[in-house]
């Protein structure tokens, strides 16, 4: 028999009660469902959910297309594509209590519940799960470490794949095999491979651009290990770099290290962003660092919790997030250096150990 993780459910309900006493919560994010129940299915346009309420058994709603085990400590309600979903849910939702809704739930599921007054009111309730997921427990910390160890090992294989004229796509298409070789189950996001001027676009997708002497080769890559994501960026030189690429590499590296040095319980996310951004601004490249410093990470590559100028929340033990400053010179070149960090009770562990020394990979 499968088990809902009762300790995690209790922590979620404690946070829910603090914000919305007497309410119930419908969890629909597939990774939040996995976190609470061990059951994972990417539902695309279909529904799955877990209904939580203090003092009640959790109820798991499962589409019959996705076989699920029986649970010792939860009810499982199986429905079909041809069932009226709102009715299925309303059989278990308390119409006299407020209902917390997952921010990621499709409006196509919410609006029928509202039209039929399935609950006394509806509010955004996923903060209770997001806050819980943000604090990784001992087992999760070990999985995050292992996931980033794999990412280091994959990064270490990349220089040998590079040669004059290789295309971004040719490198990217070899990566899934590398992740699997090193024990990951898949990508945490599609790999970014950017050569030369393409590195100036932080969202560049690998294409048929061929590598030429004097260009940078930027790799922003991540795998997934037992559900937990890694995410790291390194920028290499192919041949002798021009003066400016070398200069911005040095600035970005110092920005990365300035922020990482500060990570510890009690510092604010916005102060980390500030520390890195100041290094880049002081060097005169402020306008070319066009994104937040980082993002929280765990079962998903992006989890709630930005490392940004507007997030005044305080860093706490068990949190994991990226530190990824960059400088982007449109049409010319770009550098980004990214590590994951894990906040510990008295400081932090940097989960990536792959070198940040400037590195020519053509020899």
């Amino acid at each position: 028999m499968a088990q809902v993780d009762e300790a995690r459910v209790a922590r979620v309900l404690e946070r829910l009660e603090a914000g919305h006493p007497g309410s119930q919560l419908l969890v629909t994010d597939p990774w939040s469902i996995f976190y609470l129940t061990g059951f994972y299915a990417e539902m695309f346009e279909r529904f799955s959910g877990v209904l939580l309420r203090a003092g009640a058994r959790p109820v798991i709603f499962d589409n019959a297309l996705y076989p699920i085990d029986a649970y010792d400590n939860a009810d499982v309600v199986v429905f079909n594509d041809t069932d009226d979903l709102a009715s299925v849910l309303m059989d278990r939702i308390d119409p006299t209590a407020p209902l917390g809704i997952d921010a990621s739930m499709r409006s196509g599921f919410l609006i029928p519940l509202q039209e039929r007054e399935a609950a006394s009111s509806f509010f955004l309730g996923s903060y209770a799960v997001a806050d819980t997921r943000a604090h990784k427990d001992a087992r999760e910390r070990e999985l995050m470490r292992q996931s980033s160890r794999i990412n280091d090992a994959v990064m270490a294989e990349l220089p040998a794949l590079v040669h004059e004229g290789v295309t971004e796509h040719e490198i990217a298409s070899q990566m899934l095999t590398l992740y699997r070789k090193h024990g990951a189950q898949g990508f945490s996001f599609p790999p970014i491979v950017s050569f030369g001027g393409n590195a100036a676009n932080p969202h560049h997708e690998p294409d048929d651009t061929a590598l030429a002497t004097g260009q940078v080769a930027l790799f922003d890559i991540g795998g997934q290990y037992e559900g937990y994501c890694s995410d790291m960026t390194r920028t290499f030189f192919w041949g002798e770099p021009d003066e400016e690429s070398r200069r911005i590499y040095d600035i970005v590296r110092r920005a990365n290290e300035a922020a990482e040095t500060l990570v510890a319980p009690g510092v604010r996310f916005c102060d980390l962003d500030r520390a890195a951004r100041r290094v880049i601004e002081d060097a005169g490249y402020g306008p070319y660092f066009t994104h937040r410093l980082g993002h929280s990470i765990g079962l998903q590559d992006h989890e709630p919790g930005d490392v940004s100028a507007v997030n005044e929340a305080v860093v706490e033990a068990g949190m994991t997030f990226s530190i990824e400053p960059g400088i982007y010179l449109p049409g010319r070149t770009g550098v980004r250096i990214e590590d994951l960090v894990l906040v510990t009770e008295d400081g932090c562990e940097i989960l990536n150990s792959y070198t940040k020394e400037p590195c020519r990979i053509d020899r």
Copy 2:
């Protein structure tokens, strides 16, 4: 200057007015936005949208992270991650009119609009775009044909990649390169490669299973060409198949052809499902055909509009959908045969021409 497609907007508004007179519509599905504006960005947890209303200029809401052209015939409102999104939207939404919401919009965007009474009421409005997208125009039909021609060409390359002991993952990892070689930009969905007993699970993901003599090799694959998706399944034999695999192949093929023969304007989707299902039921395998017969397809691999027992809607010219019966014998074997069809004014075109003859690929 970029252009919103005014003919498409007019057709969407005509459908919206018919269902909800005097209302406005907030389109947030990224492919629906592409369909109307030519702008595409996968936003993940971020917002983008197009606000439509009869007699008013469309308004495109764009996150500054995703650069967008100026539009001749639409307003563009650019916002940042640090802006209050509900306020940005409420500057342009008419609070005295009902607001249609996309079924796929995140509740995290909807609930703040409701709490602040951004509109007089909220309803599910994406039917207006879905119905319009379902009727492919002449250019879209040609792109659907070309996308499936590419899929035929990729399928034709697969038998040569197969050898005794090859793993599902080894085949799947070569496919993106094949799609790009034949002119597609990427996958329409991650390829399904299932050997032997794995073919009994319609949702199997490629793993390290190695192919052995006497097994089936099932490939359910699709690419994307200028946004338009292909999707086809063929099931091959590696070595002499057992009697039952041969028998169910023949049944599934006849089911596929029974449905495809009927496709024309005026037939109901449920009747197509019935025609295929009856062939399988009459042969005694009804309980082993565990899913709907097919799904609509276009800019997304799955679009609203099932080919299923409960969809009594009538097929119309310009619609494109899959016909994909299967028989799944748990733990033993499975067969699925899938084509895409395009409904024409007087019948249909089957968009896949790759053979459906039973085929041994070990010689």
